[in-house]
């Protein structure tokens, strides 16, 4: 058993070595978490394991037994936000028109959300350090940094 975005799932009979990424995408239909490299290099598959950002492509199902996972589809509902409301970072991503192709952005958002939990008012250096595991092939880094600052400065989290 493990929880995804608050819902319990069982995966009996599944190879315990299966990476979480493919269970999310192929079995649960939660395709917001992306495949980019398969070796924890690009960060497109970032999800939260008990609030910590992890790489779903390199996390076997055996490691999430009894744990709680949050994916990009569950980010908005975190902290008891009403249905239809967005996480402030998601809103900031829209306001700053961050995405280009958009493929990496779910991972970027999950990492940024975890950063603001531990460091509500990050410096540029804090942001660079936290976000440097997430690649953006389109080069939207300038706007990601701006959007994170905007949320931190706005006092929302």
């Amino acid at each position: 058993m493990f929880k995804v975005n608050g819902t319990e799932h069982s995966f009996e009979g599944l190879d315990p070595a299966t990476p979480l990424l493919w269970v999310l995408r192929d079995s649960l239909g939660l395709v917001g978490t992306k495949y980019g490299c398969g070796i924890a290099q690009c960060g497109a598959c970032t999800v939260h394991l008990n609030g910590q950002p992890i790489r779903a492509c390199s996390t076997p199902m055996s490691a999430v037994e009894g744990q709680s996972i949050t994916t990009i589809e569950g980010l908005a509902a975190l902290d008891g936000r009403a249905e239809g409301a967005l996480h402030p970072l998601q809103q900031a991503w829209i306001d700053h028109d961050v995405p280009q192709c958009g493929y990496c952005q779910a991972g970027q958002l999950m990492t940024a959300a975890a950063l603001l939990k531990t460091t509500p008012h990050p410096t540029d250096a804090d942001i660079d350090k936290a976000m440097s595991g997430n690649m953006c092939r389109c080069g939207t880094y300038t706007r990601i940094r701006k959007a994170i600052h905007a949320v931190a400065d706005g006092g929302a989290s």
């Binding site: 980019g36 490299c37 589809e73 980010l75 192709c101 958009g102 690649m135 880094y141």
Partner: protein, 749 residues
């Protein structure tokens, strides 16, 4: 001056077109509307009505759909179809903005959907060469203007007032004298009964009248992106879908001799494994082994266990290190071909006060879009339905039809958002493979390439070499220029895609005595268009060497460049898609001004300039860079100035420029693939380290919004960044970079 789409295509899209055998439309954009009308279902001859049954039916019942690009519902909602592929360049937002502007629609009323693939209705549907905007500008404006004219006409009839007295704005028609107004939604049904005006008679807005164009509009898919909704090809899911992988020979041209298919078929989750012989066309299906499984992971695992013995008797044995040695050997020889010759270079060099030589090189590159190549296909006996993240859906249709031996009308193809393009998805090999696999599977099948597949089976940006010789007169003026360009050929006749240099390449037409020679080395490795093809590499070599010349002549780089540009003129003449030296000078001057050219700098820190014209865009960039004693480079800021005419979406255009600069830094600093024994040496991001946020600088973007036809911005901001940084590195440290990536020379970022 009119914008010549055809010559523009010929100049910037040579490589793009050479891959497209059949359907280059031989019609001007203006006549396109008439043609599409004639080919349509016929409600009104002069304008396009989609033959698509759903759209046509909606036109006559409960909505106003004057053409295939838009519908207005009585509830006031406006649906606009974006005809071209969205690959991260923002076209799904920009195209509808152009229509909405001419329509005077309030952006908040607009919803956007991806148009079906139907070139008969929509004209060219592709994303490449930064041509989407210039090729569709007139067509989309007239689509919007037609709708506006009909809504005005409906209101004028209702109110019994002259149309000329009606004005529009914010999705409303107004008649000031009688203080009447009606929302577009209220007029929709009446407008739907009116004849569609001749698109050539419509009055289009002047730039001063724009309300939406030039403003900052957030991408129309952004909400779905940030909430993780399915959008991309790889997100497609069907009931009972199975998952496929495809293993090809690591050296292109290899065939399957034998494989452990029985062992693979016995693995958990594997449903089938089989050999495809392919059709031997590298842009369609090459030989390989397909594995079909119940999940992506089961397929990936089986692929890792797959053992294939390849027949490499006719496979590639390309070697990059071999090519480098050969290029160095022949650099000083006369090139085998003379591409262009102006004046007398030998005489000018002989009498030059200063003569300079330099050898530049750059490596092969994969596209590395973050979404790996993938495609979902469902073969249904005598027809196939497909979901393809592609830049060229029309070409995908042709390829699949060819591979399956089907008529194109038996193929239903859906465009999905693509997780990056960069030119990779101009070629649809992955779609052809998915179709070929689907033909053998009685269920919808999603083919997913692993990252390793993606890096090893690309159509690469070709590496290349430039052996320059140039001369300056006693005043430091450039009087002679020779470039011996060493590139690759796969057919022995012409350079590989993306590895050509035209006779008009800067600065050949601007130096009295200039020559471009070419020598081609043989190559089997497939090459393709890579963001700003040719320019992405040539700009580094040419603009760095120009800086070397300026320095050697004791000249200021800005002045030296302006002297080369000379008087404002078009080169070649009479083509708005060509270099305009006046526009070039303007972007260089403004970039220097905005970056503080000439300002005092601490030791080890300096500015550097790069200029390049490509894809009809004039761009100058100034980089501010520090170099420390350990050859560690910090890029503090890059100032970008571009002239691409009026800006459609300021936010999108700026984003493209910022991204292009970061992409360029990433590429020049760190990126290359080697080729040995026909095999690409790199396979994942550990060996292909794309720039991270910590190394990305501030990028300031400024546009000179000239009155020329707007042109694309996905590519032209890329080329000047590398020379700007390389020139800044020289100014800061005296270290001259003549080979990319920099990291191969003990330099780090």
């Amino acid at each position: 001056m009119t914008f010549s789409a055809d010559s523009y295509f010929a100049s910037v899209m040579g490589e793009f077109e050479s891959l497209a055998p059949a359907t280059k439309m031989q019609i001007s954009r203006r006549s396109l509307l008439k043609l599409t009308g004639a080919a349509g279902a016929g409600l009104v001859l002069a304008f396009a009505i989609a033959p698509d049954a759903e759209v046509a039916a909606a036109t006559t019942s409960k909505e106003f759909a004057p053409n295939a690009f838009l519908r207005v519902s009585p509830d006031g909602s406006i649906l606009i179809y974006s005809k071209g592929p969205e690959i991260g360049q923002g076209i799904k937002t920009a195209f509808p903005m152009i229509i909405a502007e001419e329509m005077d629609a309030a952006w908040r009323d607009v919803q956007v959907e991806q148009a079906p693939i139907n070139p008969k209705v929509y004209g060219r549907q592709s994303a490449g060469g930064s041509t989407s905007i210039p090729n569709s500008w007139d067509q989309l404006r007239r689509a919007g203007a037609a709708a506006r004219a009909m809504l005005v006409s409906a209101a004028a009839k209702q109110w019994k007032v002259p149309e000329a007295e009606c004005t529009t704005g914010d999705s409303i028609v107004m008649h000031a004298a009688s203080k009447r107004q009606a929302k577009y939604g209220e007029l929709a049904l009446a407008a739907a009964t009116l004849p569609v005006p001749d698109p050539t008679t419509l009055k289009l807005k002047t730039r001063a009248e724009y309300r939406l164009l030039g403003t900052r509009v957030s991408g129309v898919d952004n909400r779905k992106i940030v909430t993780g909704q399915p959008l991309f090809g790889i997100d497609v899911a069907m009931p009972d879908m199975v998952y496929a992988v495809y293993e090809k020979c690591p050296a292109v041209g290899g065939k399957v001799k034998r494989a452990n298919l029985d062992a693979i078929k016995g693995m958990q989750g594997v449903k089938d494994a089989f050999v495809l012989e392919g059709n031997g066309t590298v842009s369609e299906v090459m030989p390989g082994v397909a594995i079909v499984a119940t999940s992506t992971w089961a397929a990936f695992k089986a692929k890792a266990a797959l053992q294939v013995e390849w027949d490499e008797s006719s496979a590639s044995r390309d070697s990059w290190t071999g090519a480098v040695l050969e290029a160095q050997k022949i650099a000083k020889q006369t090139g085998k071909q003379s591409i262009t010759k102006n004046g007398d270079v030998d005489a000018a060099l002989k009498s030059a006060a200063k003569r300079l030589e330099a050898f530049y090189s750059y490596p092969f590159l994969p596209h590395a879009s973050l979404e790996p190549q993938n495609c979902t296909a469902w073969f249904k006996g005598d027809a196939i339905e497909m979901w393809v993240p592609t830049q060229t859906p029309e070409r995908a249709l042709q390829g699949v039809a060819h591979v399956l031996g089907l008529e194109q009308d038996k193929i239903t193809m859906h465009q999905t958002r693509a997780g990056g393009g960069f030119g990779r998805r101009l070629v649809n090999d992955y779609a052809c493979e998915a179709a070929a696999i689907a033909q053998k599977v009685s269920a919808p099948v999603k083919l997913t390439w692993t990252r390793e597949d993606d890096m090893r089976h690309d159509f690469y940006r070709p590496g290349g070499f430039h052996a320059f010789t140039a001369g300056l007169d006693a005043k430091g003026k450039l009087v002679a220029w020779r470039d011996h360009f060493i590139t690759f050929t796969s057919d022995g006749k012409s350079p590989v895609t993306g590895g050509n240099m035209p006779p008009a390449e800067f600065p050949l037409l601007l130096v009295a005595n200039s020559e471009l020679q070419q020598t081609m080395l043989p190559l089997m490795t497939p090459c393709g268009s890579w963001r700003a093809p040719r320019s992405n590499a040539v700009a580094f070599a040419v603009q760095s060497f120009i800086h070397e010349l300026a320095t050697a002549g004791g000249r200021d780089h800005v002045e030296f460049l302006l002297e080369i540009f000379g008087e404002p003129r078009w080169l070649p003449p009479a083509n708005a898609g060509a270099l305009n030296t006046g526009r070039a000078a303007a972007v260089v001057k403004l970039a220097a001004e905005k970056a503080g050219w000439g300002k005092p700098m601490p030791k080890g820190r300096a500015l550097g300039l790069g200029f390049h014209f490509s894809h009809a865009g004039h761009f100058a960039e100034v980089a501010e860079v520090s170099v420390d004693a350990h050859k560690h480079i910090t890029v503090h800021k890059v100032t970008v100035v571009g002239d691409i005419g009026p800006i459609v979406n300021m936010s999108g255009a700026e984003n493209q420029c910022q991204g292009a600069v970061i992409d360029a830094i990433s590429t020049m600093m760190n990126l290359q693939v080697g080729i040995e024994n026909g095999r690409i040496q790199e396979s994942n991001f550990t060996e292909y380290p794309i720039l991270r946020m910590k190394d990305s600088p501030q990028v300031d973007v400024h546009f000179i919004q000239s009155d020329f036809t707007p042109t694309g911005v996905g590519e032209p901001a890329f080329p000047p960044a590398a020379p700007a940084i390389a020139n800044a590195v020289f100014n800061a440290s005296g270290m001259r970079i003549r080979s990319l990536p920099i990291r191969s020379q003990g330099v780090s970022i």
